[in-house]
């Protein structure tokens, strides 16, 4: 069990979570709640894997995964923005749809090997002692993409005009509409972007970080953890990324706990009684709940919170 391995593993698996979480942050900042992330991730994972397998190019696979997530999210957008259906139920139905579609179209893919997105090392930075080895050498290309996405998304949301419009639409759409901002358009756009990022997250599982297709075990709940991360992160991409990386580290740590006979000189209970591993497997999910509790309480203390118009359909000039 080495800290370096845990850190690097955390960076890798955390990247998956942060793609999905930042995507959902963008969607929710515009006022739309998309709970279909798990379905979109799985669909993206399948599409990426299948495309990579069939075409031999993992990059095409990546594009396919992104597109799959984006397309599915458009269905959610249509139903919730134009038809004003309940956003929770719509998101859930899309989880089923996405999962079902992924399973159907992914028949026969298990056990195959598709070309993968490669690892890489960043030229100068990987030579920095210690830090360079951990953060910049021999990690998947997508991890580096994640590094770029984090500050970019924060900057975009807080320091640019489109970001300001995005926040206004999610906070008080009537204000944005009265000044000529296309509320529906903005919501469609960011729901789509969120879906694309969810698809990207799925692709990063199947053709990059945990390669392979294992039907619905491919994502095994990570989409939901990403949604919870959004609340924990208080809609801040920096916090979401931090949470994602921490989560990844924790998972690796749990895995490592099962191996050695001794931990810190004491008998390792997980080694001697293999069934106790089930409790370890519970941990990510229990931790998510704890993170939620902590996130909700801290939000109430600071009096920040969800975008004002989250999950509320917008109708221009609605009369009371």
């Amino acid at each position: 069990m080495s800290l370096e391995i845990i850190l690097r593993s955390g960076l890798s698996t955390g990247t998956i979570l942060l793609f999905a979480a930042i995507g959902e942050i963008l969607t929710e900042l515009s006022g739309v709640q998309n709970l279909g992330v798990e379905g979109m991730m799985l669909l993206g994972a399948m599409a990426a894997f299948k495309t990579s397998l069939l075409t031999g190019s993992p990059w095409l696979g990546l594009l396919a995964g992104i597109a799959a997530g984006g397309l599915l999210s458009l269905a959610h957008a249509l139903v919730t923005i134009h038809f004003q259906a309940d956003q929770v139920v719509s998101g859930l139905s899309l989880t089923f749809l996405g999962t079902g579609l992924a399973l159907v179209l992914g028949e026969g893919l298990s056990g195959q090997n598709a070309p993968l997105i490669p690892n890489a090392s960043i030229p100068l930075l990987s030579n920095i002692p210690i830090l360079g080895r951990v953060f910049f050498s021999d990690l998947n290309v997508l991890v580096f993409l994640g590094y770029l996405l984090i500050p970019f998304s924060w900057w975009y949301i807080n320091k640019t005009r489109p970001g300001m419009h995005l926040r206004a639409v999610g906070e008080k759409p009537a204000a944005a509409d009265s000044l000529g901002i296309n509320v529906y358009g903005v919501r469609y756009l960011y729901t789509f972007v969120g879906g694309c990022l969810a698809g990207l997250a799925g692709a990063s599982i199947s053709i990059a970080i945990s390669p392979g297709w294992y039907s619905n075990l491919t994502t095994s709940g990570q989409g939901w953890i990403a949604v919870a991360l959004v609340i924990f992160a208080q809609w801040n991409p920096l916090r979401a990324a931090l949470g994602g990386y921490l989560f990844g580290m924790l998972r690796r740590f749990m895995l490592d706990l099962q191996g050695p006979m001794l931990i810190f000189g004491l008998r390792n209970p997980f080694f001697y009684n293999h069934n106790l591993v089930f409790f370890l497997q519970m941990m990510p999910f229990l931790l998510t709940i704890i993170a939620l509790v902590w996130g909700s309480a801290s939000a109430r203390r600071q009096r920040i919170g969800a975008p004002g118009a989250l999950a509320v359909p917008y109708i221009r000039g609605e009369r009371r």
């Binding site: 929770v88 089923f96 749809l97 079902g100 992924a102 159907v104 919870a228 069934n275 999910f285």
Partner: protein, 375 residues
């Protein structure tokens, strides 16, 4: 809001928010329409991947309705869906999204299984109905306690119940597995030994000696639990004080607070009842169908139950019908390849139902366009 094709056709589509009340048949019609459309789309997908939809759906029908045995299978599959659908429906009335029925089901099954597995009572001498009664109560207790957790988290910390219940689903399965593998199974298999007959819910097949036709029919007492529960829930919603409070909270929590209703208490109570019903479904499965505790008891009953609840528009009696429909889907689904199609159809149905709900809120008419607009 109007869409005008005025330049080409002298009509336009006029979409307007409804102010009058909707005819009672419209929600039913839209649900039915959605289901039909879902099947059509699935047929299309089947075609696309090289299957034969007509044959497949022919199998479908035969598998579900072709014989008494098949019908009995449908009811058996429908039973847990009915119980879960009722529980979720009640929670949804209060806008509590209990997606954790799956976990509550497993924990209920676990608690109920403790009776024959520990064993908690002497399985030979105790009368059968006492054993089953205790198992049923423990099933409800287990599910209820497991529902208490997300309920309490929501009431006290405003934690989103969608995520907490989903997380707890995974936890429940692992919990169950631990006990099966480590304590209760023969030599580490993923299932426990079979329960003694005294822990089995009575089935029609048990009376095969008296009535020849019943031989091999696996329909068990669990369905009665479901029907009784439907009636009880209906009475609660339409005739009781508590039902009024639940409806009020679901419609406008602020008004409910103002009327002096304790919302936190009701969140917890409703979640517990919802969980208890799911737990009872778990008991009914282990005692009436599989007769043992195993790693996989549920074919996603928890999630299908959510869809059943929504499709029945939260009406207890409609839940009975819809759960039978979905039971038929499951039975026939065993025949259909690929297996993911079952998930897909369910998702499609739900998606189309909520899309069609738009018709309940908006009136769409074809209206003659006024001449001056044709420019």
């Amino acid at each position: 809001m109007s869409f005008s094709f005025a330049r080409f056709i002298p009509y336009k589509l006029h979409i307007q928010k409804r102010t009058d009340e909707v005819s009672r048949w419209l929600p039913l019609a839209t649900s039915v329409g959605a289901i039909v459309l879902a099947f059509l789309i699935s047929a299309l997908i089947l075609l696309l991947i090289g299957g034969d939809p007509i044959r497949t759906f022919g199998y479908f029908f035969n598998a579900a309705f072709g014989s008494w045995g098949a019908l009995s299978d449908v009811v058996v599959k429908a039973t847990p869906l009915l119980l879960i659908g009722l529980g979720c429906g009640l929670a949804f009335r209060m806008r509590l999204w209990n997606i954790g029925a799956e976990g509550q089901f497993y924990i209920g099954a676990f608690f109920a299984s403790l009776v024959p597995l520990v064993p908690l009572v002497n399985m030979e001498t105790t009368p059968k109905f006492v054993i089953l009664l205790i198992m049923g109560l423990l099933g409800m207790l287990g599910g209820g306690l497991y529902g208490l957790i997300p309920g309490w988290l929501k009431a006290k910390f405003q934690v989103s119940e969608i995520i907490s219940t989903l997380m707890l689903n995974y936890v429940a399965v692992f919990f169950n597995n631990y006990w099966i593998y480590s304590k209760f199974s023969d030599a580490g298999f993923q299932m426990t030994p079979m329960f003694p007959k005294s822990a089995w819910l009575p089935r029609l097949a048990d009376y095969a000696r008296q009535v020849k036709a019943f031989s091999g029919i696996t329909l068990h007492l669990g369905v009665v639990f479901g029907l009784v529960a439907a009636v009880i829930i209906w009475v609660i919603i339409t005739r009781s004080r508590w039902g009024y409070e639940i409806n009020l909270i679901g419609d406008n929590p602020q008004a409910a607070r103002y009327a002096g209703i304790d919302i936190s208490r009701n969140i917890i109570l409703v979640f517990m009842l919802s969980g208890a019903l799911a737990g009872l479904a778990g008991m009914s499965e282990v005692s009436g169908v599989v007769h043992r505790l195993q790693e996989r008891i549920s074919t996603n009953y928890g999630f299908s139950g959510v869809i059943v609840a929504w499709l029945s528009k939260l009406n207890p009696f409609a839940t009975i019908l819809v759960s039978f429909l979905f039971g038929a889907l499951i039975v026939a689904g065993r025949e259909i390849q690929p297996s993911g199609l079952y998930f897909f159809i369910q998702g499609m149905i739900l998606f189309l139902v909520i899309s069609s709900d738009v018709l309940l809120h908006y009136k769409i008419e074809l209206v003659r366009a006024a001449p001056e607009e044709r420019k």
